[in-house]
């Protein structure tokens, strides 16, 4: 069992990181009713910001987080603007538009930052191993677990306690009723997409040393967070947390065990296929419109 301690802890780090990204995706879907296939690209904004700005000092990391979060938040708001003419056209039109935006933005990112995976530098004082019950574990990842857990807790508090959170939950339950209360659907969608983008950018800036910053980052993150969102039940934050940790563990324990490593990828997508088959109507509710 001791052999799996480090992969298990690493799975939590990976899972919490995925949760921060996927929470944005699930909020955008549940509240904004937007299927945002450019979500991985917004993560890449943060990842590239970290690769280019973070140079080993705390200040540079803070700046990278700020720039990445702001850029991805703006990106989310911009997507909301682009989606305005598609109101009432359903999820397929949204998916096509956001996917197109993801392709164009991905191409621009590659043109700006090159085809290479970029190297990441983490703050010097975290760039060393720490002792974890007799095992060595990278200090940065331990710090990431703490920070990501704090972000997750803050997210829960905001959604369940604040006034904005009340609107968010009300919108998930009954979009029309919230509109009747005098809250513009456009405002709701734009602020949720901007917030979701900011979460993706934040996760990108913090998680790039683990997930990477390169041309494949956006697709990888989009795919994993789609799995998380589907497994967690569309629109459910708590469900996303459980699913994200599960996906993280499959990605680490699954790889650490030689017998499991061949089937780990299938477990991931097999579970998603099962969830979709069981709740197919839940994913794309055709009768509903924005």
């Amino acid at each position: 069992m001791d052999a799996y301690l480090i992969p298990a802890v690493d799975g939590v780090a990976y899972g919490l990181l995925l949760f921060v990204v996927a929470a944005g995706l699930t909020l955008a879907f549940g509240v904004g009713d937007v299927l945002n296939l450019a979500h991985g690209t917004l993560f890449a904004f943060g990842a590239y910001a970290a690769a280019k700005i973070s140079d080993g000092s705390w200040g540079s990391l803070a700046l990278a987080v700020l720039v990445g979060t702001a850029a991805a938040g703006l990106g989310g708001a911009l997507l909301s603007l682009l989606l305005t003419p598609l109101a009432g056209r359903g999820h397929l039109a949204q998916a096509l538009l956001t996917f197109g935006v993801a392709l164009v933005a991905g191409d621009r990112l590659t043109a700006m930052f090159g085809k290479d995976e970029l190297a990441l530098t983490v703050p010097k004082s975290l760039d060393r191993p720490v002792d974890l019950a007799g095992h060595s574990y990278p200090g940065y990842r331990l710090a990431l677990i703490i920070v990501a857990a704090l972000i997750a807790a803050a997210l829960f508090v905001v959604v369940s306690r604040s006034r904005a959170g009340h609107f968010v939950r009300a919108t998930v339950d009954d979009r029309e009723m919230v509109a009747m209360l005098g809250v513009s659907p456009f405002t709701v969608r734009t602020s949720v997409l901007a917030g979701a983008g900011a979460l993706a950018g934040l996760a990108g800036a913090l998680g790039a040393p683990i997930i990477g910053a390169g041309p494949r980052t956006a697709d990888l993150v989009l795919m994993l967070s789609l799995v998380v969102v589907v497994l967690g039940g569309m629109g459910s934050i708590a469900g996303a947390l459980v699913a994200a940790i599960a996906v993280g563990e499959i990605q680490t324990i699954g790889v650490a065990n030689p017998d499991l490593s061949t089937i780990a990828p299938f477990v991931l997508f097999g579970a998603m296929a099962l969830a979709l088959a069981a709740r197919a109507r839940g994913l794309l509710p055709s009768g509903r419109s924005a």
Partner: protein
């Protein structure tokens, strides 16, 4: 409206190609006539894309040789025509076609990727132009006219197997990236290691392949190595994967296991790895601190030209490609053609190089000595430092 314009451009393009072909013929004639006529040599390398660093090293190595020899090879002034190989065969073939058909080069050098070599070789064979390649070298059916100054992918692993068997007291774990280059590099080690009675720590004796290029988190693999009871690790990674591997290795549970590898710390990745690379052992056919006359001259000239970069094995292989062409063209005497250059390369024998003496083997790749290096602090910077000689490998 559009049709006539397109016709005009087609006519223009055809005219240009014909004119280019005409030039090439003229050059061939002049090349064989006068002793000091200018020769066109084609250089193909990745000057953009993933392998830009390697391609640039190849170009710098070749140009440095030219600069140190007054821009001449075998007494002829050289007009070096440069093509960008890009990321692989898809971009390499058009670039090579341009060098052959439009520039009319008499010989070709460079080429980073094995896939590019495989794709360009038939084109060169058809035009009977010899390739003095300086990096990539796949298995080829027809070796006629194809020479490689670097090494075969399985050579590094083979060269260090005996040393690891003697030094490591226990089983060794083999891990590498899941693609052809990885199979060749790590396979070179495991094959030789098994032959001399070494024992792998891998379950079932099977090398662990990590998905390439998407693996950025190596920690779960390191947990596997830890529980295998290995006493050392052998691996091959390059580029970003090498940086991730080495950095995470030194913060993981197996940080105290000796790490042996090929290319793990070669070139620009070393500075990115930083202190995590300290003590890592690599096998290489070159080390900048080798003590021989040719290397002293080479390193001095390199440092003057590129004060911020350490010379790499890539640069040396390309420098040697220029040296091979230099001697072959000189030996061809008054009749320098693509064919005579190829004939003379076959007769060269020992070549003096910054890496020591080597010669072409039966497979048109070097029979050469390999060296064990360890990353140590050299002043303020980290450097691959020569430890000792390893085996001589080649066929």
């Amino acid at each position: 409206m559009f049709l006539p314009r397109r016709l005009v451009s087609i006519a223009l393009a055809t005219g240009l190609v014909l004119a280019g072909a005409g030039c090439a013929k003229d050059d061939d004639k002049s090349g064989s006539a006068g002793a000091a006529s200018t020769l066109k040599i084609g250089f193909l390398g990745s000057l953009s894309g993933t392998y830009q660093a390697v391609g640039t090293d190849l170009k710098n190595g070749f140009e440095l040789y030219l600069k140190m020899h007054d821009g001449k090879l075998g007494g002829h002034p050289i007009d070096l025509k440069i093509g960008d190989e890009g990321d692989g065969a898809q971009t390499a073939v058009p670039a090579a076609t341009k060098l052959v058909k439009e520039e009319g080069v008499i010989a070709m050098t460079g080429i980073v990727g094995g896939g590019s070599v495989a794709a360009v070789a038939p084109l060169l064979a058809q035009a009977k132009i010899p390739l003095i390649g300086s990096n990539g070298r796949p298995e080829l059916k027809d070796l006629n006219g194809v020479w490689t100054t670097s090494f075969m992918s399985s050579d590094p692993g083979q060269s260090i197997a005996q040393y690891i068997k003697d030094k490591v007291n226990g089983p060794v774990f083999a891990i590498g990236p899941d693609y052809q280059g990885g199979y060749d590099e790590v396979g070179g080690f495991t094959t030789e290691f098994a032959k001399i009675g070494g024992q792998l720590a891998n379950p079932g004796g099977k090398t662990l392949w990590t998905p390439f290029p998407q693996t950025t988190n190596f920690l779960p693999f390191f947990s596997q190595i830890k529980s295998s009871g290995a006493k050392a690790v052998y691996t091959f990674y390059a580029g970003k994967a090498a940086i991730d591997f080495v950095k995470q290795y030194k913060q993981s549970d197996i940080k105290d296991l000796p790490l042996y590898g090929a290319f793990l710390t070669e070139g620009s990745v070393l500075q990115a790895e930083g202190d995590a690379a300290k003590d890592v052992f690599t096998t290489c056919n070159y080390s900048p601190d080798l003590d021989n006359e040719e290397n002293r001259k080479f390193v001095a000239a390199w440092r003057q030209q590129f004060p911020d970069a350490t010379p790499t094995t890539y640069a040396v292989a390309s420098y040697d490609a220029a040296a091979v062409l230099d001697r072959a063209i000189a030996a061809a005497g008054s009749n320098v053609t693509a064919e005579t250059i190829n004939e003379q390369v076959a007769k060269l024998g020992q070549i003096s190089s910054p890496r020591g003496q080597w010669q072409f083997g039966k497979n048109h790749a070097p029979v050469q000595k390999w060296y064990l290096r360890q990353v140590r602090a050299d002043g303020r910077a980290l450097a691959n430092t020569l430890v000792q000689d390893l085996a001589t490998v080649g066929q």
